[in-house]
Amino acid sequence: MPLDQHNVLSVKNLTIDLPRNADRKHAVRDVSFDVAPGEVVCLVGESGSGKSVIAFSVMGLLAKALNVSAGSIELEGEHLVDVTEDRLRELRCTRMGMIFQEPMTALNPVMRCGDQIDEVLQEHTKLSSDQRRQKVLDMIEQVHLPDPQRMYSSYPHQLSGGQRQRIMIAMALILEPVLLIADEPTTALDVTTQAQILHLIRELQSEKQTGVLFITHDFGVVAELGDRVAVLKQGELVEFGTTRQVLSAPQHPYTQMLISSVPRHEPPDRKPLAHDAPVVLRTEKLKKQYFSFSLGKRRNVVDAAVDISVEIRKGETLGVVGESGSGKSTVARCITWLIESTDGKIYLSGDNIAQLNSKELRKLRRKVQIIFQDPYRSLNPRRTVGQSIIEGPMNYGESKADAIQHARELMELVQLNPDGLDRYPHQFSGGQRQRVCIARALAMRPELLVADEAVSALDVSVQAQVLTLLEEIRDRMQLAMLFITHDLRVAAQVCDTVAVMSKGRVVEYGSAKEMFQNPQHEYTKALFEAAPGRDFVFGGNPNSM
C-alpha cells in the first residue's frame, strides 16, 4: 500500500448528510478509501448506495441539498472539503476530470464537439487558438476517433454513443489530470462498445499513470478493470480490498449476496419441453420498414426488421438478444401490435394477426401482454396500482369485483401484499413496481408474455429475484414468453431458445445451451467476447484463476 502523501485521492471518514425529510440520515457515512497513481479503484453498489454522491463530492459538484458534515477529501494532499469554489474550478479538468453515465445527454447539443473540448483549454491554459486546435485534434486522435477534423466540427447528435463517450474522455483527460472519476461511463452503452471504452480508459490511464475512481454497479466491469474495489451498502463501506480478493472470496454477507446474484454466463440445465407443447406464436418472414418522405416522394427506407421467422411454444421462453438498433424491440412491438408490421405473417395460436383490422384485433389483444423496461415510467403515477391492474380486464367485460379479486391473487403471486392495491406507484421501489407491471400483464390472462428489457433497469439483486419470479410464473401458468434483452447473462439464465439479432436480421437462432457453448455466427462470437468479466469466476477460490 503506498504512503498517504503519495495517494492521488484519499477520502477519510467521509460523511454526507441528506436533507432532513429523507428516508435516512446520511447519504454517505464514515467512508474511507484511497486511490494511488495509476490505479483503478472501483466503487460498487446498488442504486442509492451513495457511490455517485461520493464522486460528486470529490468534484465539488454536490447538489445544494447535500453537504459534507464530517471527514476529509484530499487530492494529492490538498484538502477539498473547505476549499473555495474558485479553487475547485481551477482543479476541475486540470487535476481531476470526470466522465458521466449518459454520453447522450452529457454533451451540449448545440455546440460542436471540438469547441466543447476547446473550452477546457480556453479556461485553464493560455495557449493560442491555433495551438489549442492542434491539441484538441491530437486528443481526438488519442481516443481513437476516426477523422479528427470531422469529429471536431460535428455536433453530438451526429455521433454514436460510443463516439460521444470518447469525446467526453478526451475532454476529461486533455489536461492530463492526476485523477479521473468515471461515473458508470459504460452503463448506457452496448456491450461491444462498452468493451472498447473500457479498453480505452485502461490504455490512457496506464500510459499517464492516472488514478481512476470508477463507479459501477456491474461486477463484470469490476472484474475487467478494477485493481481494488470498494463495496458500498446504503452509504456505508462494507468491504474494500483487491478485486481478486473481493470478487473471488467476498467476506461481507452483502458482498456475497451481490456477487451470487450476478447471473452466470452459462445456461443452467433446463428440463426439456413436452414434445406436443402447442405453438403459441409463430412469425413468418416478419418485416418492418420505416419510410421517410420528402415532398411526397419516398426518400429513405430503413429496414428495422427483416425476415424474422421464429416460434414460441407453450411454456417456452424465447430470448431475442441484440445491441441497440438491432431491431429487437421492433419485433416485440410488431408482435404485440403496438406498431403495424410491413409484411410477413404473425400466427397467434394459429390465427394470422398481421393483417387484422383494429376491431378484430381487439379480441386478440388480451392474449399478448407486454412488460416494459422502465417500471418508473410504465405505470400511471396518478392511479393506484389496483386501478392500473383492473383496468384491462374491466375493458374486456370483467366485473369490478371479479377483477379486484383476481388482482389480489395476482399480488400474492408476484409476492406483494394485496393491500398494496390502494397505493400509488411512487410508494413502491423499482423492483416492486416491476412486480406490479407483471401482475398487470397477467391480469389479462395472456397466452404470450413479452418482456421488453424488463429487468435491465433493476439492481442486480432485484434483477435476480424478478427473473426467478418470471420463471416461476411461466412454469405455473404455462405461458409462452418472449424475452427481449441486451444482456447475455440474463438471456443465459431464463431462455430456452435464443435469437441473436443484428441490423434488423436474426443472425443465429437455436437452443440457448448450444449457442452459449458453441456460438456459430461471427457476430454472436463477438458479442460473447465483449461481455465484461466473462472469464472471471465469481465467488470461487481465488487460487483457481
Binding site: E90, R92, T94, M98, E119, E123, M168, L295
Partner: protein, 313 residues
C-alpha cells in the same frame, strides 16, 4: 430547407383563402349597415338605399365576393367607404407607426425579460426570484391602458419628461421618433416582459438540470459562462417561440395602446374601420394581420434551425 420553405409558403395560400371568406362573411352577417353609417343621422331610407347600390352592397353575396376576390388578385384592395381613398395607401400610412411601436416594444421586452428570467432561474427560490415572479404576476394582471395612463400621468404630466401623446415619423428625425415611442412602448411591453421572463425562467430552470450543465461545471467553467454559453442557448427555443407569438399579438393588438397614445397606426385605423363598418378596410387589415402571423411563424421555425443544429427540415 428550401423545399421546406417553399412548401410552407405554398401552404399560406389556403390559409389566406379561408381568412378571406370568414372575414367577408362575418362583416356582412353582423348587424350594422355601412351605408347608414356614412349617410348619417339625417338621411332618409331612400338616401341609404341609393348609397347601398353605389357601394355595391345590393348585389348577392357570392357576386360581391367574386368582385372582391377578382380585385384582390389584381392587387387592388378596394376603396374605403369612408375616406374614399384606396385602402392600400391608408394601410401603407399606418404600417410605419405600428411596426415601429411593435419593434420598439419587443426590443424593450426582450432586453429586460431575458436577463430577468435567467437571473430568476439561477437564483431559484431566493428573494430575487420571488420579486421577479411577483412583478410578472402584476404585469400579467394590469391592463395595458391602466399602465399607459399611469405612465402618462407620472412621466408626462407630472414630471414632463415625455410628451403625453403623438407620433413622429422616422423620416422626420430618428431621435424624435424614438423619444416619442418610449412611453407607449414601455406601457405595451409590461405584459410581454412578464410573459417572456416567465418562459425564460422555466426554460432555463429545465436546462440547468441537464447533464451537460453538470459537464460544463465539471470542466471548471465559471458560473457566468455556464449560464450564458451553455444554459441560455439551449433554453432559447421556447423563449424564441414566445417572442414570436408576442410579435404577432403585438402587431395586431396595438389597438388599445394606439388609442391611448393617439398614434396614427393600424390600430387606430382598425378601430375606425370597424366602427364605421368600412368593409374594404377591415378586410384588408385582417388579411394583413393574418399574413403577419403566418410570416412570424415561419420566421420562428427558421430561427429554430439556427439555434439548434438538431432541428433540420
Amino acid at each position: 430547407m428550401w423545399p421546406y420553405l417553399l412548401k410552407r409558403i405554398l401552404a399560406t395560400i389556403p390559409v389566406v383563402l379561408v381568412v378571406m371568406v370568414i372575414v367577408f362573411l362575418m362583416l356582412r352577417l353582423t348587424p350594422g349597415d355601412p351605408a347608414a353609417n356614412i349617410a348619417g343621422d339625417a338621411a332618409t331610407s331612400e338616401d341609404i338605399a341609393e348609397l347601398r347600390v353605389k357601394l355595391g352592397l345590393e348585389e348577392p353575396l357570392p357576386v360581391q365576393f367574386a368582385i372582391y376576390a377578382k380585385n384582390l388578385l389584381k392587387g387592388d384592395f378596394g376603396e374605403s367607404f369612408y375616406y374614399k381613398r384606396p385602402v392600400m395607401s391608408m394601410v401603407a400610412d399606418g404600417i410605419e407607426p405600428t411596426l415601429s411601436l411593435a419593434l420598439f416594444t419587443i426590443v424593450i421586452a426582450c432586453l429586460i425579460a431575458v436577463p430577468l428570467g435567467t437571473l430568476a432561474a439561477f437564483k431559484q427560490g431566493s428573494w430575487v426570484d420571488r420579486l421577479i415572479m411577483a412583478f410578472s404576476v402584476i404585469g400579467f394582471s394590469v391592463p395595458v391602458f391602466v399602465i399607459g395612463y399611469v405612465l402618462i400621468y407620472f412621466l408626462a404630466v407630472k414630471l414632463e419628461w415625455f410628451p403625453v401623446q403623438g407620433y413622429q415619423r422616422i423620416g422626420d428625425g430618428v431621435a424624435g421618433w424614438a423619444y416619442r415611442l418610449i412611453l407607449p412602448a414601455t406601457a405595451l411591453s409590461v405584459i410581454f416582459i412578464a410573459l417572456i421572463a416567465r418562459m425564460t425562467r422555466t426554460s432555463v430552470l429545465e436546462v440547468l438540470n441537464e447533464d451537460y450543465i453538470r459537464t460544463a461545471r465539471a470542466k471548471g467553467l465559471p458560473q457566468s459562462k455556464v449560464l450564458l454559453k451553455h444554459a441560455l442557448r439551449n433554453a432559447a427555443v421556447p423563449i424564441v417561440t414566445v417572442i414570436g407569438i408576442a410579435i404577432a399579438i403585438l402587431i395586431s393588438g396595438v389597438v388599445v395602446t394606439e388609442s391611448v397614445f393617439v398614434i396614427p397606426g393600424l390600430g387606430l385605423l382598425t378601430l375606425d374601420a370597424i366602427q364605421g363598418r368600412d368593409y374594404p378596410t377591415v378586410q384588408a387589415l385582417i388579411l394583413l394581420f393574418s399574413l403577419v402571423y403566418i410570416i412570424v411563424n415561419l420566421l420562428i421555425d427558421v430561427a429554430y434551425t439556427l439555434l439548434d443544429p438538431r432541428i433540420r427540415y
